[in-house]
């Protein structure tokens, strides 16, 4: 066995088998988990008589149920995964169903880490799911051939049947399962790698816009979100808005007024072990309205903690100070000699950009229901981006609350549809609070954030400040320096980890000799794909900001501000160089050096011009194993693919040719969110009309071209592009959060304003299916709208606004400045 050559060989194999339950055969396939540390043997040994194992289960009625560990939060990921598996497994689409596995200690060993982030689901799972499907098919074809008494070579599978070419007879998968006991073991990774996948030209389901399987339940009210759970003897919990976002301490609670509310039970000060839920008091009652009323009737005395007087103005002042302390900066990009080439430049630009806080504001406020069962186990009902982290965090917390060892605690997390995630459903304060209440009350508790408390405890995108310089020589951008300061969200997620060891799972890394740590999630996007020979990005961390506002990841993470900055600045540089912004960009998107992307086979990392290639951490399931036959990074083609998108978008929008009325302009932007290692190539053109007397502007049209390699479900990709582009429109038009005296101040949707129906522009969307490895599509388009709009405003009236969101007042002010 080639297996034996591998370390750990004996423990790495997987099994396809059918098992019998109530006389019927089931085929399920157990494979090594996607992420996380467990091995295949765990998967097998954890498979009792019937376990719907990691990817799918076929039942004798011919129904195939796909087990989806990724959160279903609007991207229809279950449908995409099912399409990928069904393609290779050859099951009829009408008989495909979805379910969501329970998160438990045991299942974690089978499924690995359940975590949905980074637009990474299709990117990281495509190859693996394809192979899982193909292996299932191989086993069934072999068994079917035997049943038919046919030669294996004459048999193939189609639409859930094994067909013998010679006799023209066939047998259904369901029949096979009832007649044959399947048991076949494959080695991992060798057999796995050897599976022959379909050629793209043979695809029947991938690339087809099949209706999403989760949609019908969402149009008749039957869809189940966590809030729709009812448990026997359940009470309700509502949060009293804490005095500060973080670090307040409750000194006393007076609930005498609350006591007169019928149904009020008690109030609970949440134990803030793990520095979560600090200053949280939850009112418990028999109904939610009573809990909510009681939460408002509590009189709470609080020590506001260190951030009690901190406001956005203080944060901004600190940002400006930090930018003047180069010794405290960490280098993120360092190529050539930026200072030297600036001095030699015949033209320079020196400008400041900034962005405000925004938050996820998902339509489903955070909620969760927790109960402790009679056997002592804990059950959490929640819609979350990571059931695994929810379970692990709660286990650690309960251990502190109860004084019992973590191994003695058994926590199960039941996943539900997620009513919007956007990066904001990966903190588990709510889970801890609900569990603590259930513990205190001795009853199950449904905890629901009111919209007001949801805003108050939201995890915003950090505010930012940027200073950019350009050196232009002979009309070329020869030097670019980007200094940026923000709160770094990474450290906040490294619970229990030493932040500054530079090698932990957060990929805190540094490119320079000083080896300072840097939080990739806060600087990503500034490492753009333009070839600029002398290029430097330095970053400063305002740690206080991170903690005070509880900064977090928000749709495309740092790209969501950095693309606004980089792409607006590129426009400024083009104008300063006296060149057309399209031609200027294309001349630098030349795919040179590190900007060529990571090739299919080896590359030499670490050379100065390849500085970006050192890091591949998210793009593929086996990023360092180049021997996978299908191994290919989504970065292949690099900047040239981005240039291609830009040409398509500009061409479709009529850049340079379409006659526009006075006061209307076009602006360009490109982006490769999310990270350099996991890029989806996208370019956009915004057409905007500005009323120069009021500063009010309207986005008339967005033209977007995206190269995602392969679109698993093209119509759904378009929906994702439109939705994310409108998300981007919101952050340039109207979304912002304030922070005053330690508290986020917007309270509801009359103060925090996502886009609405009237804001919707005309769309023209082009999918460029280059045939490369499929990449995520739910986020990238959100990054190009703000800069494209900013550039269009400039083109329309000469106003350059360097702050996001762009308010009418800011447009007027910039107009005045332009005329001066």
């Amino acid at each position: 066995m080639p297996d034996e050559l591998l370390p750990n060989a004996g423990r790495r194999s997987f099994l396809v088998r059918s098992t019998t339950m109530a006389g019927a055969g089931f085929l399920s396939i157990a494979l090594p988990p996607a992420l996380g540390g467990s091995d295949a043997e765990a998967a097998i040994s954890a498979t009792p008589a019937y376990t719907p194992s990691i990817w799918f289960t076929i039942t004798p009625d011919g129904v195939t149920t796909m087990h989806i560990v990724k959160a279903e939060m609007g991207q229809h990921i279950g449908t995409a995964f099912a399409q990928i598996i069904a393609e290779e497994l050859e099951v009829p689409w009408e008989k495909v169903r979805l379910d969501m596995p329970l998160e438990s200690n045991e299942n974690f060993g089978i499924y690995g880490l359940a975590y949905t982030v980074n637009s990474g689901s299709v990117t990281t799972e495509f190859d693996r799911l394809s192979r899982a499907g193909a292996l299932g098919r191989m086993v069934l074809v072999e068994a079917g051939a035997k049943l038919l008494g046919a030669k294996l070579a004459n048999c193939h599978a189609s639409a859930g049947r094994v067909i013998d070419k010679a006799s023209k007879r066939s047998v259904g998968y369901g029949d096979i399962l009832q007649k044959v006991k399947l048991e076949k073991s494959f080695s991992y990774p060798n057999d796995f790698k050897a599976v022959k996948l379909k050629a793209r030209s043979e695809y029947k389901i991938i690339g087809k816009s099949v209706p999403a399987l989760d949609i019908p339940a969402k149009t008749n009210g039957s869809a189940k979100y966590a809030m729709d759970v009812f448990l026997p003897n359940m009470a309700y919990g509502a949060l009293a808005i804490p005095r500060t976002r973080h670090m307040s301490k409750v000194l006393s609670v007076d609930d005498s007024a609350a006591k007169s509310i019928p149904g009020y039970l008690k109030s609970v000060v949440i134990a803030d072990h793990m520095n979560k839920c600090m200053g949280w008091v939850v009112a418990l009652a028999e109904t939610y309205p009573a809990a909510l009323a009681a939460s408002k009737a509590l009189i709470i005395e609080t020590d506001p903690g260190p951030y009690g007087n901190l406001s956005l103005a203080d944060i901004k002042a600190e940002f400006a100070e930090l930018l003047d302390k180069p010794e405290e900066a960490a280098n993120w990009v360092l190529e050539g000699d930026v200072e030297g080439s600036m001095t030699g430049a015949d033209k320079t630009l020196d400008v400041e950009y900034s962005s405000d806080m925004i938050c996820h504001a998902f339509m489903e406020p955070i909620n969760c229901t927790v109960m402790q069962a009679a056997d002592g186990s804990w059950h959490v009902h929640v819609g979350t981006q990571s059931t695994s982290f929810a379970r692990m965090t709660l286990t650690a917390y309960l251990s502190m609350v109860t004084g019992r060892k973590q191994e003695e605690l058994s926590v199960f997390v039941h996943q539900y549809l997620v009513g919007g995630g956007f990066g904001g459903k990966q903190d588990y304060d709510d889970v801890l609070a609900a569990a603590y209440c259930a513990h205190e009350l001795g009853r199950p508790v449904k905890f629901i954030q009111s919209r007001e408390s949801q805003f108050a405890i939201s995890h915003p995108r950090t505010p930012t400040l940027h200073r950019l310089k350009a050196g232009i020589e002979d009309g070329k951008l020869t030097a670019m320096s980007h200094d940026m300061v923000s709160g770094w969200m990474g450290p906040r997620f490294a619970v229990g980890k030493k932040f500054n060891n530079g090698t932990d799972w957060l990929q805190l890394d540094s490119w320079d000799d000083k080896k300072q740590d840097i939080d990739q999630w806060s600087v990503g996007g500034s490492d753009h794909w333009y070839h600029v020979p002398n290029h430097r990005v330095r970053a400063w961390n305002s740690d206080r900001t991170t903690w005070a506002i509880q900064a977090s990841a928000l749709r495309t993470v740092s790209n969501s501000y950095n693309m606004f900055v980089v792409e607006s600045f590129m426009d400024e540089a083009a104008h300063a160089a006296g060149r057309d912004p399209l031609e200027f960009r294309l001349s630098m998107l030349n795919g040179k050096g590190g900007n060529r992307g990571i090739p299919n086979t080896g590359y030499a990392p670490g050379t100065p011009s390849d500085y970006y290639l050192d890091q591949i951490w998210i793009s593929l399931p086996w990023p360092t194993d180049k021997s996978w036959p299908e191994y290919e990074s989504g970065t292949v083609g690099g900047a040239l693919r981005l240039a291609n998108c830009l040409r398509v978008a500009a061409g479709k929008a009529g850049w340079g040719s379409k006659k526009l009325p006075k006061g209307t302009g076009m602006g360009l932007a490109v982006s490769s969110a999310e990270e350099r290692q996991s890029p989806t190539w996208v370019a956009g053109v915004a057409e905007v009309t500005v009323d120069t007397t009021t500063g009010v502007y309207k986005i008339n049209k967005l033209t977007i071209a995206m190269d995602m390699g392969i679109a698993i479900n093209p119509e759904n990709v378009k929906a994702q592009i439109m939705g994310s582009a409108l998300w981007g429109a919101g952050q340039v038009l109207s979304e912002r959060l304030d922070f005053e005296n330690g508290l986020l101040t917007q309270s509801n949707f009359h103060e925090y304003k996502p886009v609405r129906q009237v804001d919707v522009p005309e769309f023209d969307i082009e999918l460029i299916q280059s045939g490369r490895h499929p990449m995520g599509v739910g986020e990238p388009a959100s990054t190009i709208v703000a800069p494209a709009v900013a550039n269009a405003i400039f083109a329309a009236c000469g106003a350059r606004v360097r702050h996001m969101p762009i308010t009418p007042e800011a447009v007027l002010e910039a107009l005045k400045a332009a005329k001066a």
């Binding site: 609007g74 998902f362 339509m363 929906a719 949707f749």
Partner: protein
């Protein structure tokens, strides 16, 4: 005890009379298709019909319902046969889906009153319903498609 007519059935509620209808529907009567988004009448997630009119159930107190006939998403058509539901599925409107009960109820009441709304009328009628996934372009398209389906049915 308050008697209610919901989706053609007579049901009773024990909630205090000032309880928002939303919570009576969702948590007491367990008709969870109606969603909680803001509690302030500014998002539309909780939209139901009272006597055919779209209302924000978070803003209607139990005592205000009187003899009004309530229709919730569950009552529009449980197997998605209402033209608005059909159009929503055909155009594949929902993403996360959380706002969609409200969107659909809003659209159904619009079309009941105005069988062929203009683009502008659709925009105005639907503007109170937030969708954070921003499915707006498809919502507008699906309202038009539903209008067309209703016309076809009438002429058939």
């Amino acid at each position: 005890m308050t008697n209610l007519t919901i989706n053609g059935r007579s049901l009773a509620s024990d909630s205090p009379p000032d309880t928002p209808l939303l919570w009576v529907l969702r948590e007491e009567l367990r008709m969870t298709g109606t969603r909680f988004g803001c509690g302030l009448g500014v998002c539309g997630a909780c939209t139901v019909h009272i006597n055919g009119q779209a209302v924000r159930s978070c803003q209607v107190k139990l005592e205000q319902v009187g003899t009004g006939a309530i229709t919730t998403i569950e009552g529009l058509h449980p197997s998605n046969a209402h033209p608005v539901q059909k159009a929503w599925i055909e155009i594949q409107v929902p993403q996360c889906g959380y706002c969609q009960s409200g969107q659909i109820m809003q659209a159904a009441s619009l079309l009941a009153q105005n069988p062929s709304p203009s683009d502008k009328q659709i925009q105005e009628a639907m503007n109170g319903n937030l969708c954070r996934c921003a499915t707006y372009p498809r919502i507008a398209g699906a309202v038009k498609r539903a209008a067309q389906m209703m016309k076809e049915k009438k002429n058939a």
